[in-house]
Symmetry: C2
Subunit: 383 residues, 2 copies
């Protein structure tokens, strides 16, 4: 039996998707843009999905754009979600520890001649509204700060950030990458000053390749993908109908159990942490009030990658950081740099992330395996 | 029983995808970017899919970028597939009857100050290589001409077009939208002078939301979606693993039966045309040597939309044009305008498109239903 503790990278698709797929292959596969009744029925299913997805964050179902995932959502909001001023170069703000799908957009904006301020988290691991607001200028076009940090699980007060930004400049658009927060951490998008919020299906037991971008009615959004004019012209391309219905089904399931599931994951996190607490120099990067599903640690002296491979021999699967950055040479992650963690400790970082199906027994097994790996490798834990 | 004749809009997913989905939900859902063995296995499955998809058009599996569909592929190739020259405005060429996912990119390039030539099809419904080459200039950055026209089924000699363009300017990049051609019309992408070729899964019994962009090793391609650096940095975002494996499975199936299936669809098309041939003023826009799966007709005096709704009462599903343009006010399609069809006749256009599962009996039923509809509506066919 494997113990999967990399749920921040992706989650196991819900079993509820199986009958949904059979129905899709059998009869529900029509192109929702066509004009005959089965196609109109497909369009109606998409409408129901919009309501489900919007409901989870109190968003307006009319302000839902289906995307191919978090990356496309963030790219669309950041690169097409602000009021351009002709050739004039503008100002942008983001945090210093965003996911690459946000960070790389700001790098592209810098390359295009715009200026960007990168706000660092404080000692509590969070981006503070007043630190963001302080940097807002008259020409600040857009701010993007993530809801939940994908490596540490720190939860940012994105509604507070949006309010602080708008108080200083109502014309500044505000986006939050909600890929790790959507469904898990409560948010009243509709009641907040946020303009955009991005989510991804596969972090919540949906499928990879589907996401959603929520937007407010008066947000200055333009399309990133150009073509046939689907999604009210805001996102062209035939809709990924099965992926969307699967997303809605998974979210429906998640929302029906949210309190219970979140409490369960938080308890697992606390339990695992307790089991590991006698490892002398363990470092914990996850704030105590962080998201329930992410635990970020370092065991100095042992590289995270080595621990990962030792655990995989026991079919325990963890990560050293976000899956996305595993493509790149990891000379210490931007996230931990932003947190001021020294490079030698950053090398030892591992991330364990949970889903509602994980159990206490799995935590015990994982804790024992981590200790055994450390003992075998460093010989510093007495057996 | 429904008779589905809108396979150019989307196709029914192959039944072979059902066991594939069960396996995906059960165990094959890991993030291919992660580092432990099941994730590496997922990455290996993607590699096999690259080979299958590339094999269908003799492309290099190393030159495969998975996308969210034809729209993203075309957007990426056209907007990021040419050598920019700083602030200098460049020249582009496309045809006058492209799909919106191509056309809108060129409109955006025009808005950005570049110039675009739109090549019209000749009387045979095709874009001729010499007509394209004639417009190529020293500053022509990119040419994009579709493989198979999505409304008429006209097949363009895209290899010939690429060769003619490169002969005049080797620095001009050449893209072909292969959404309607891939798998159905043979192409030696590897042996051609084409730089890019775009395909979509759901036109070949795969799933909506998945596509592929083939590119040549030295093509000047840059990413359109920015982030974690998946797909060798050319397309960020967690790969839509199930959609990709489903695409490969569907293509495998298609390629194993291609000759038989293509012959069958061509025979159906000829059969249906024969059955309709006694309708006095029927207009045929599909070239005799067009793609096997598309038949584009007009019955002047009867609006295509009216015929569509009359047929849907008998569960016969056709379209009036591309599904994508059904979102927009159809003041006559760009395709038929480009073909020089008068606006009143354009109003009468319908498209019937086939898949290998369609039958002769369905063609007979459809032909009879069309005649009945025309008779009831116009009263000009003697019963």
């Amino acid at each position: 039996m494997e113990i999967y503790l990399d749920n921040a990278a992706t989650t196991k698709p819900s079993k509820a998707l199986l009958p949904l797929f059979s129905a899709h292959v059998e009869s529900e596969w029509k192109n929702p843009s066509a004009m005959y009744p089965p196609a109109v029925a497909a369009e109606r299913q998409l409408r129901a999905a919009r309501e489900t997805l919007a409901g989870a964050v109190h968003a307006d179902p009319a302000g839902v754009v289906f995307t191919s995932g978090g990356t496309e959502g963030a790219n669309t909001a950041i690169l097409r979600g602000y009021r351009a001023a002709g050739e004039k170069k503008l100002h942008f703000i983001t945090s210093a520890y965003e996911h690459p799908c946000v960070y790389e957009c700001f790098r592209a904006l810098e390359t295009a001649g715009h200026s960007v301020d990168y706000i660092r988290p404080r000692a509590d691991g969070k981006i503070h509204p007043e630190d963001v607001a302080e940097k807002v200028r008259e020409d600040t076009a857009l701010v993007s700060v993530m809801h939940v940090n994908n490596e540490t699980g720190a939860v940012n007060d994105i509604a507070g950030i949006a309010a602080a930004v708008k108080a200083k400049n109502p014309g500044t658009a505000v986006h939050a990458d909600g890929v790790q927060g959507y469904g898990k951490c409560p948010l009243d998008f509709g009641g907040s000053a946020l303009d955009y919020y991005t989510a991804s299906a596969h972090k919540l037991h949906g499928l990879k390749g589907t996401g959603v971008l929520f937007y407010k009615k008066n947000a200055p959004l333009k399309p990133y993908l150009l073509g046939g004019g689907q999604e009210k012209g805001l996102r062209s391309g035939t809709e990924n109908t099965f992926g969307i219905l699967a997303f809605a089904r998974a979210v429906e399931e998640y929302m029906a159990h949210r309190e219970e599931w979140v409490a369960h994951m938080a308890a697992l996190k606390a339990y695992l942490l307790d089991k590991l607490s006698d490892i002398p120099d363990m470092r914990i990067f996850s704030p105590a009030d962080g998201a329930p599903h992410i635990l970020n640690l370092a065991f100095p002296g042992m590289r995270g990658e080595v621990l990962l491979h030792l655990l995989e021999q026991k079919k325990i699967y963890i990560s050293t950081g976000s899956a996305c950055s595993s493509h790149k040479k990891r000379a210490g992650s931007r996230v931990h740099q932003a947190l001021g963690v020294p490079a030698d400790i950053t090398q030892g970082v591992v991330r364990l992330s949970f889903c509602p199906e994980n159990t206490e027994e799995e935590m015990e097994t994982a804790a024992a395996a981590i200790k055994e790996a450390l003992a075998g490798f460093r010989g510093f834990i007495r057996r």
